[in-house]
Amino acid sequence: MESSAAVITAKPVSQTGSYDQPVVHEDKAARFWLFMSIAFLCIGVVLGLITAIKFVLPEFLGKVAWLSLGRIRPTHNNLVVTGWLVSANVAAFLFITPRLCKTKLYSEKLALWAGYIWLVANILALFSVPLGYTQGKEWADWPWWVDLLIVVSWVLVSYVLFQTIANRRVKQMYTSLWYMMGTLIWTAAVYIIGNWPAGYTGVNDANINWFYGHMVVGLIATPAGLALAYYFIPKASRSPLWSHTLSMIGFWSIAFIYAWNGAHHLTYGPIPTWLTTVAAVFSVLLLIPVFTAVTNFYLTPIDLAKQIRTNPIVNLFIWGTTFYLATCIQGPAQALRSVSQYVHFTDWVVGHAHMALFGAFTAFAIGAAYYMLPIMYKRPIYSRGLQWVQIHLMIWGFVIFALDMWVGGFYQGWLWKHTSLSFIETVVAMQPFYWIRIIGGSMMVLSMFVFAYNAVMTALMAEPRKVALTEREAEALATGGGSVAEV
C-alpha cells in the first residue's frame, strides 16, 4: 500500500540510471499479434455459435463430416484459446513490457516472426481438427505438427520478452511483469507436458490431460489476464495500484496453488480418492489469490462509480473482474464432491468455462485492445459509441448465456440424480435452455464483430492527424480523458 504505485506513475522512477529521453515504441509486432487474434476471434465465436445451434437443430448445415458437432466443438474450444486469447495477451505483453521496462522491445523483428509462425500454426490447426487430424484430448486437440510450431513461436516470443526485461532501465519489476513471466514459463511447461506425444495410457493419460486442461485456464489464461488487469486498470483509471503487498500475496499463492488442481476434473472418476481430495483442498485455497486480485482491482480506480459510466475500458475491466470473482467462487465449489455430483458432466460446466475465458479474460483482452489501439496508431478510437454498444451486447448476452447454462445445467444434474427419467428424456428437457443459449450466444458473437469492426476501422480508416499525437496525448484519448487540448 505504501509506495506501491512507484513504478507505474508517469514520473520515471529509476534506481539504476537517468531517464534521459522518452523511448519511442514501434509496436509493430504488437499490432500484428493483436489483429491476428481479432481475426481468429471472429472465426472462433462463429464456430461456437454453430455448435450451439446444432444442439437444437442437429441437421443444421447438413450432414457434412467436417461441419459435424464432434469436430466443430473442439475446434472452437482450442481456437478461441490459442488463436484469440493467447494471441491477444501476447499482443498486450509486447505492448506493456517495453513500457514498464522503459526500454525498447528487444527485437520487433523476432516478435513479428514469432507472430507469423503462430499465424501459420493456427491456420493449420483450424483445418486439422475438422479434417480429422486430432489428438483427441480436450484442450490438446491440435495435432503434434501444430504443437511444434506453437512451441517454436512461444519460445521466440518469450526470448524477446525476457531479453527486454533483462535490458530494463527500472530495477524493480512491476506486478504485470511477474504475471507475464509466469505465463511465459508456465505456458511452455504446461503445453509441452499436456501435448507430449508419448502415448500415455488410460487413467494416467486422463490425469495428465486434466492437469493440462485445468492449467490452460489456471496457468495460461489467468496469469495472462491478471497481467493485463494489473497494468491497464491503474493506467486506464489513472489511479495508483491500491496495494502492492496484496498483489504479491496473490501472485505467489497462484504460483504455489494452481498446479495442484487438475484432478478435480475427475472427481468420482476411476482415480485414487486422495488425488481428488488434494485437488479439492487446493481448489478452495485458490480463493486467496482470487480475493487479493479482485480486491486490488475494485479498489484501485479512484471514483469508481463515475469511471464505470464514463470510461469504457474501466467498465470492461470491472465487469471482467466481477465475472472472474464469480467464476472463482464457482470453481472451488465445483471441486467439492457434494457439488460435483450435481454439476459434473452437465451444461453448468459450459457456463462456468465461458465465464472464465469469455466473461473475464476476453473482457480483459478487449479492454486492453481499446487502450492499446489509440496509442499504437496515435489516433482516437474509431467510434466510442460502438465501444459501448459492444460492451452492453457482450455483457448482457453473456449474462443470458451464463444464467441459462447454470439453471439448465443444475436442472439437468438434478434430473439425473432425483428423478426416474431415462437419459433421452433429460436431453429433451434441456431443449428450451439450448434455445435460450443461442439468443445469448448470438449477442456475444455480434458483440465480438462490433469490436473487430471498431478495431479495424481505428487502424485503417480513422482520419490521420496532421501532427501525430505523443504517447501521453494518445493515452489521454484512450482513457477517455477528454480532448487532446486538455492534456
Binding site: G136, I208, Q341, D347, W416
Partner: protein, 266 residues
C-alpha cells in the same frame, strides 16, 4: 519497500530468483499430482493382482500385448479395435459421451443394467458395485476417452446392449432409433446405398467392446426375489448369497476380415 530483503521482495528485482522460486513451486506440484500417483497407486499402470487372478475379469491379450507379438485373429481384432478408436476420436465422440460410471445413484440408474436397485443398495453401504469404473479397465486406452460432458449418455457399459444392426441404423439416422436425440447423423460412414463402410464396422466393433471385460450386471435369482418381496423391510440383501454378476452377452464380429483386411500388418 525496496529495502525489504525476503526472497519474494528479492524476486521482484532479480530475474534469476524469480524464475527459481516459480519453477520450484511448479515442479513440486507436478511431482505431487502427476508423478506420485503413477508410482503410488496400485493398478494405475498394470492390471491389479486380484483382477489377474480372476478368470472372469481383465483385458484380453489382443488389447494389451505389443502389436508385433500378435498374429492371425488376435491381430485382426486389435487392428479393427484400433481403427474403431481412431474413428471415435476423429468424430469427437468423447465430447458428448463420457466413459465412466461414477459411484452415484443417478449414474447407476441410467447406465447400469439388471437389478439396478441392488447396485444402489451396495452404494448406500459405501461399497462400490462392479458397474462403477475401475482404473484397470482403461489400461489399453490411448488417448483416454473418459469424457467431460454428457450431452449423450455414458458409453462405458454399452457393449452388448444393442445389436450391430441397431448401431448402423442409429448412426445413419439417430432420430429414427431414438426420438428426441440430438446426435448428428454420420452418413459419411456409409456407402450411398446405406451399407456400413469399414470405418463404421470398426467403430461399432469398438463400441461393442465397452464394458464387456468384467461381470457387472447384477442378477437376482427368482426364488430370492420372492423371498425379498416382503415390502415392509428396507434392509439390504446380503450380497454373497443371493446375487450373481454376469458379463453382458457379447461377440466380436470379424466377418469383414477379408473385405477390410483387418489381419494385415499396418
Amino acid at each position: 519497500m525496496a529495502g525489504k530483503n525476503d526472497i519474494f521482495h528479492r524476486a521482484e528485482r532479480n530475474l534469476a530468483w524469480f524464475v527459481a522460486i516459480l519453477m520450484s513451486f511448479f515442479i513440486f506440484a507436478v511431482i505431487a499430482t502427476v508423478i506420485i500417483p503413477v508410482i503410488a497407486t496400485p493398478g494405475w499402470n498394470t492390471i491389479p493382482k486380484e483382477v489377474q487372478q480372476d478368470p472372469n475379469r481383465g483385458l484380453p491379450d489382443w488389447m494389451l500385448k505389443p502389436k508385433r507379438e500378435l498374429s492371425g485373429k488376435d491381430l485382426a481384432m486389435r487392428n479393427k479395435w484400433e481403427r474403431g478408436r481412431l474413428v471415435y476420436k476423429r468424430e469427437g465422440c468423447m465430447y458428448c459421451h463420457s466413459q465412466q460410471v461414477r459411484p452415484l445413484d443417478g449414474d447407476i440408474r441410467m447406465f447400469g443394467r439388471g437389478d439396478v436397485d441392488y447396485d444402489r443398495k451396495l452404494l448406500w453401504r459405501k461399497q462400490k458395485p462392479p458397474v462403477v469404473a475401475e482404473a484397470w479397465e482403461y489400461l489399453a486406452d490411448s488417448p483416454h476417452f473418459l469424457g467431460t460432458k454428457r450431452t449423450g449418455p455414458d458409453l462405458s457399459r454399452v457393449g452388448g446392449k444393442y445389436t450391430d444392426d441397431w448401431h448402423y441404423a442409429h448412426f445413419l439416422n439417430p432420430r429414427e432409433m431414438v426420438p428426441g436425440s440430438i446426435m448428428p447423423a454420420y452418413t459419411w460412414l456409409f456407402t450411398p446405398t446405406g451399407e456400413p463402410t469399414c470405418d463404421a464396422r470398426a467403430l461399432v466393433f469398438y463400441i461393442q467392446t465397452l464394458g464387456v471385460f468384467k461381470p457387472w450386471i447384477p442378477v437376482v435369482e427368482e426364488a430370492e426375489e420372492t423371498l425379498g418381496a416382503v415390502p415392509t423391510t428396507e434392509a439390504p440383501r446380503p450380497p454373497e448369497e443371493k446375487v450373481t454378476y454376469i458379463t453382458p452377452p457379447h461377440y466380436f464380429d470379424l466377418s469383414d476380415i477379408e473385405e477390410c483386411g483387418w489381419d494385415k500388418r499396418r
